[in-house]
Symmetry: C2
Subunit: 213 residues, 2 copies
DNA sequence: TAGATTGTTAATCGATTAACAATC
DNA sequence: TAGATTGTTAATCGATTAACAATC
C-alpha cells in the first residue's frame, strides 16, 4: 500500500467509471476531460484530477484522458475484472432481488449460493440457484473458498450468520440487515442500511415543511 | 435553519437511534452514556456528545442521557413520527422487495402506489397494492400530494421518470437506478447504487489478495 | 466529598478547492 | 505560437479528536 486512497475518493471512482462508460458508448471521441466529468457529476474538476492521480493514470495536458484507458484502469482498480463469488443468506424479498439482479456481473460479482433456514424455502429455485439449508453454509464456503458473504436476513439473525461466515473464512461481508455487526477479526464490512438511508429524505422533508408545527 | 447539522453527523443519528432502541428493549436502565454508544458503534465518545448537541438534547453530567428522551428526540429529528407517503416506479425484483418490506413503517415511510409500464405487470397485486399504469403517475402524485418518489426502474428510464415526478411536484427522490440524475430544480436526491457500493468490497479484496499478479 | 459524565473549546487531521506552472 | 488541459502545490474549509472545566 503506497499511498492509500481516501475513502471519499474511492467512492467517486465508480461514478467516473459510469460516466466514461456511457461517454464511450455515445460519443466517438478518444479523450475525455476532467471538466467534462465535472459537469456530469457536479464534482470539482481539480478534485477529479486529484482522484485520478491516486489510480495512477496519466492524462495529456491540453487533450484530456484517454477514455478507453481511463475506463479500463478504473475497472481494474475497482476490481471489476475479477470474478468475485459470493454466497447470500436470507432469501426473502431483498435476497431474491439481489440473487436475480443481472447488473452485478458487470462489477465482478457473482452470487453462487443461496441459504435460508426456512424449510418452505429450502430447495426452491431462485434465479437459477437452489436454496440450500443454512446448516451447509460453512461447508460450502470452505469447499469453494468463497470470499464474500451477503446477509439479507432479519436483523436478529445477522450477528450469528456473520460469525458463521467468519468461522468459515469469509473475507468480506455485505450486510443488509439493519444492525451494526460486532466483529473483532479483520473482516471488511460494507453496511447497506436502506431504512437508515431513508432518514436523509425523511429529515429533509421535515426540515423544509414545518407545516405541522 | 439555525446551525445546520453536518452530513456525517446526520448519518450517525440513525445509528444512535438503533442502539438506544435496542438498549431500551433489553435493559432496564433510565440513562445511557456517550461512552456506551461509543463502545457499540466504534465512534469517538466526544463526537457522539457533539452530534447530540446538534439535536439539542441535554444530558446529565455524571449520569448520562435519558434514554427514552434520547430515542424520541432522535426519532422526531429524523422524521420517524411523520407519515411519509411515497410512490414507487419500476416493479421489478428490487421494487417488489421494497414494496413488500415491512420495516419501513417504523421510519415513517409508507409506499402507497406502484407504477410500471409493462402491461404484464399492470394490475398485479404486489404487497397489498395494485400496480398502476405509469401513464397515471403524475395524476396520482398530484391528487394525493405525494412528496417522495422511489425509482427502481432500469437505468435508461430513470431520468425521464424523475422528470415526470418533478413535474408533478415531488419533493424528494430515492433513486435506485445506477445513474446520476440530471436535475436543476431544488429536489432532494438520495442515490442508492448497490452495484457501486459493491465496489468497496471488490477493491478491498483486490488489494488484500494480489495472488493473481 | 469524590467520581463520573457532560458540554465545549482548542488542536489536529484530512479533504476540498483555488491557483497556476508545466506541457502538448 | 496561442490555447487548453493536466499535474501539483498551497490555502481553505470542515470534521474529528483531545482535553478539561463544569456539574450533578
Amino acid at each position: 500500500m503506497v499511498k492509500k486512497i481516501p475513502k471519499p475518493s474511492l467512492a467517486r471512482l465508480p461514478k467516473y467509471y459510469q460516466v466514461v462508460t456511457s461517454y464511450l458508448n455515445r460519443k466517438n471521441e478518444k479523450y475525455i476531460s476532467s471538466s467534462y466529468l465535472s459537469d456530469c457529476l457536479n464534482i470539482d474538476d481539480s478534485q477529479i484530477r486529484r482522484d485520478l492521480m491516486y489510480i495512477e493514470i496519466g492524462g495529456i495536458p491540453r487533450v484530456g484522458y484517454d477514455a478507453k484507458e481511463l475506463r479500463d484502469v478504473l475497472a481494474d482498480y475497482l476490481g471489476y475484472f475479477n470474478l468475485n463469488e459470493a454466497i447470500l443468506v436470507g432469501v426473502g424479498n431483498l435476497g431474491t432481488a439481489l440473487a436475480e439482479y443481472k447488473g452485478f456481473e458487470r462489477y465482478g460479482l457473482s452470487i453462487v449460493g443461496l441459504f435460508d433456514s426456512d424449510p418452505e424455502k429450502i430447495g426452491n429455485l431462485v434465479g437459477n440457484l437452489k436454496v440450500d439449508n443454512i446448516e451447509n453454509l460453512e461447508q460450502v464456503i470452505k469447499k469453494f473458498n468463497i470470499k464474500i458473504g451477503i446477509i439479507t436476513t432479519p436483523a436478529r439473525y445477522a450477528q450469528q450468520i456473520a460469525e458463521k461466515m467468519i468461522k468459515a473464512n469469509i473475507k468480506a461481508i455485505w450486510n443488509f440487515a439493519p444492525v451494526t455487526l460486532d466483529i473483532d477479526e479483520d473482516i471488511f464490512i460494507q453496511d447497506e442500511n436502506l431504512a437508515e438511508n431513508f432518514s436523509f429524505i425523511s429529515h429533509y422533508l421535515k426540515e423544509t415543511e414545518p407545516e405541522k408545527e
